[in-house]
């Protein structure tokens, strides 16, 4: 797509794609054409083709009406084209010249019949306050003051009246201060000079707007100042066509209107995913290291601090930040968290994808992780190839065209309309912090505050069964295989187990464990035989699969309980050390057994059943063989 540098090729492509029914591709080419050559000449082509495509694409339908004191018609095609590239399909009504008051106060006016979603009140100081704008030098201070009050009062009445008839959004242009004040530099010496009074009117406009829901001020004065008051005006066009704005600034006016349309239609970006190398810092961390990358208050790092400041400001509006970088995780995280020049740290980011995978895939994952649509993502990367790749793979992502010069990065980010917001909630301001906390919560669940919490989390169930035909084979197998958690490592064949089972005074137990992840099956064996009023544990073993989860305690508790029930007064058992069974070494002392004897083979431990018991763990549910619960 970007190989076509010739705009007339793009035009032909658009026609061809529309003819063959590829609406999505056609609209992308149309947006590309507009991006390359925005202006009145291209606007006509773009507009006529929007009309062919608008019903075939999922655009936000929006009706906007202009109440105005100057010519705006030539700006409308530019506005429609700009809106289109932001996925907004605009239907525009332009009110009659200078009839804004009548349009507002008359409930049956064509304005209200149009049923707009938003109304722009675009009135210039020269038109609403000609005495202040032109004849200021002739006014006494008293008369000037009254003139200013008259204007403020007028706006208050019009906004109130509008709200009585419509709940649509109202965007009010502020008044422009004069390029050449009537009294020259004298004007700036007083709060009540020409500029001062217009500033006061604008201050009142903001106050009035705050008193209503959905009334917003478009700072026309600041817009003109940003582009230069001397360049903004076209006296010739004003005199011939009542168009006060110079031709090459018409697009800037259109774009300013779009800054309001984007949040009003919800075509905003909820998350900005950023590259690291040469985007958040100068240089490549993997090659130049911490000492080589440039980020800090001095040139050239200052440019990168500025773009980081821009990103921080976005996050304060509730826009999430994410990292999408091709880097070694350790290198990148070290720079992110330790470099002294960084304003942003890892905690400022709601998601991080630092790896060598393709960026489109990472962006898809980021959207999924943050539970936002892919069309709510914006992408910032200094590398034009990465940008093109993402544009091609994910056409719904807003890919920001970063200029080559890092000094221009911050302004480019701030200029993007997808980051504009008209309201700010407490939740917006806290959003990044909330995401950071949620990540910690998830991490804590992984590592657990205490082992008991982890055991409870497992939801283990234990089924204790005596040896039977059903489990004989498995029991014998476990005595043969188990090395680590095996206190005596006595190996038995099936026949031997079967023989043992027939002996009076010999008890063979098995334990079967289920937890939240599934059934582990038969994982433990204990063989005990009674000698008088003592019960000796001949074999006690556990599959390494379930070591360290108190399953062993459950088995021991069961043995102790059944021994006590049989009238035994003491429970004892040997620990015979091998090269592999160190995990079982402290099992008896941990459960309150006392050391009775020590020999070259091992140690003998004893528990007084009349004085002590082994508590069955509370977080393990004891299940009886037929599935019922104890």
């Amino acid at each position: 797509m970007s190989q076509e540098h010739n705009p007339s090729n793009l035009r032909a492509e658009v026609d061809r794609l529309i003819a063959e029914g590829s609406s999505d591709a056609a609209s992308r080419h149309l947006a590309e054409l507009w991006r390359r050559e925005p202006g009145s000449a291209t606007a006509s082509f773009v507009n006529s083709h929007i009309d062919q495509l608008r019903h075939k694409l999922p655009l936000a339908q929006f009706k906007i009406a202009f109440l105005r004191s100057f010519t705006v018609e030539p700006i409308v095609p530019l506005l429609r084209a700009e809106a289109f590239t932001n996925s907004i399909d605009l239907e525009v009504l332009v009110g009659d010249f200078n009839t804004y008051v009548q349009d507002i106060v008359d409930a049956g006016s064509s304005l209200y019949q149009f049923a707009p979603n938003a109304v722009v009140l675009a009135v210039r100081a020269e038109d609403v306050a000609p005495d202040l704008a032109r004849e200021f030098a002739e006014l006494s201070p008293e008369a000037a003051r009254q003139a200013a009050d008259r204007v403020t009062h007028g706006y208050e009445q019009w906004v109130t009246s509008f709200r009585q008839h419509s709940q649509a959004a109202l965007i009010v242009h502020s008044l422009e201060r004069p390029t050449h004040p009537s009294l020259g530099v004298l004007d700036s010496q007083s709060e009540n000079g020409q500029s001062g009074l217009i500033r006061q009117i604008n201050h009142e406009l903001r106050r009035i707007a705050e008193g209503f829901r959905g009334v917003h001020v478009l700072d026309y004065d600041a817009l003109v100042a940003r582009h230069g008051s001397e360049n903004w005006h076209d006296e010739r066009k004003w005199l011939t066509a009542r168009l006060p704005i110079a031709a090459d600034h018409l697009l800037h006016m259109a774009r300013e209107w779009v800054r309001f349309l984007v949040p009003l239609t919800g075509r905003t970006a909820k998350c900005l995913a950023v590259d690291l190398d040469n985007t958040l810092w100068g240089g490549v961390i993997g090659e130049e290291g911490m000492t080589g990358i440039k980020v800090g208050p001095e040139y050239p790092g200052a440019a990168f601090q500025a773009v980081q400041r821009a990103l921080l400001d976005l996050s304060k509006k509730g826009i999430l930040l994410a990292v999408c970088s091709k880097n070694n995780l350790d290198d990148a995280m070290e720079a992110l968290d330790k470099h002294p020049g960084m304003l942003l740290r890892s905690q400022h980011f709601a998601a991080l994808r630092i790896n060598w995978t393709d960026k489109s895939q990472n962006l898809r994952e980021i959207a999924q992780e943050l539970n936002i649509g892919i069309d709510s993502l914006a992408f910032l990367d200094d590398n034009p190839f990465e940008r093109e790749q993402v544009r091609a793979a994910l056409p719904k992502v807003t890919v920001i065209d970063l200029p080559q010069n890092p000094l221009e990065y911050a302004a480019t980010v701030r200029d993007c309309p997808v980051f504009e917001r008209l309201t700010l909630s407490a939740e917006d301001q806290q959003r990044t912090a909330m995401y950071a906390e949620q990540r910690q919560r998830a991490g804590a669940e992984q590592s657990f505050q205490s082992k008991e919490d982890f055991f409870r989390f497992l939801e283990q169930e234990a089924e204790l069964n005596p040896v039977s035909d059903l489990n004989l084979a498995r029991i014998a197998q476990l005595t043969q295989k188990t090395n680590q958690f095996n206190l005596t490592t006595r190996r038995y064949t099936e026949a031997q187990i079967a023989e043992m089972a027939k002996q009076p005074g010999w008890n063979i137990f098995s334990i079967r464990v289920r937890d939240r992840f599934g059934d582990h099956g038969l994982v433990g064996v204990a063989i005990a035989h009674d000698q008088g009023d003592e019960c000796e544990i001949d074999t006690f073993l556990l599959s390494c699969r379930v070591i360290g989860r108190t399953v062993e305690t459950a088995l021991l508790a069961h043995i102790a309980k059944s021994a006590a029930e049989r009238g035994c007064k003491r429970l004892r058992g040997w620990f015979l050390p091998t090269r592999k069974n160190a995990p079982a070494r402290d099992f008896y002392p941990e459960h309150g057994f006392e050391l009775l004897a020590q020999s070259c083979e091992g140690s003998l431990w004893s528990l007084d059943l009349t004085q002590q018991e082994v508590a069955f763990p509370t977080w393990v549910k004891l299940v009886t063989p037929n599935g019922g619960h104890d």
Partner: protein
């Protein structure tokens, strides 16, 4: 350009096309034509020159003379 502005296929635009023959050529479209010409050819039209643009043919002549006058 005229085709785009007036919504008429290029084949139908002739030197004689004017506000009388093209329905879409009203005062606003006239202004749009002026802006488009100024932008495309990098010229500035005075109020008198704008008056002279009574047809497509006259507009073309006007632009050509302006382009010859200013060295590019």
């Amino acid at each position: 350009m005229a085709s785009d502005l007036f919504g008429v296929p290029a084949e139908r635009i002739t030197a004689d096309s004017s506000p009388q023959t093209l329905e879409a050529w009203d005062s606003i479209q006239h202004l749009n034509l002026v802006l488009a010409v100024e932008e495309k050819f990098g010229v500035q039209l005075s109020p008198e020159e704008i008056e002279q643009m009574k047809s497509i043919g006259e507009t073309v002549k006007l632009v050509e003379s302006k382009l010859q006058a200013t060295p590019r």
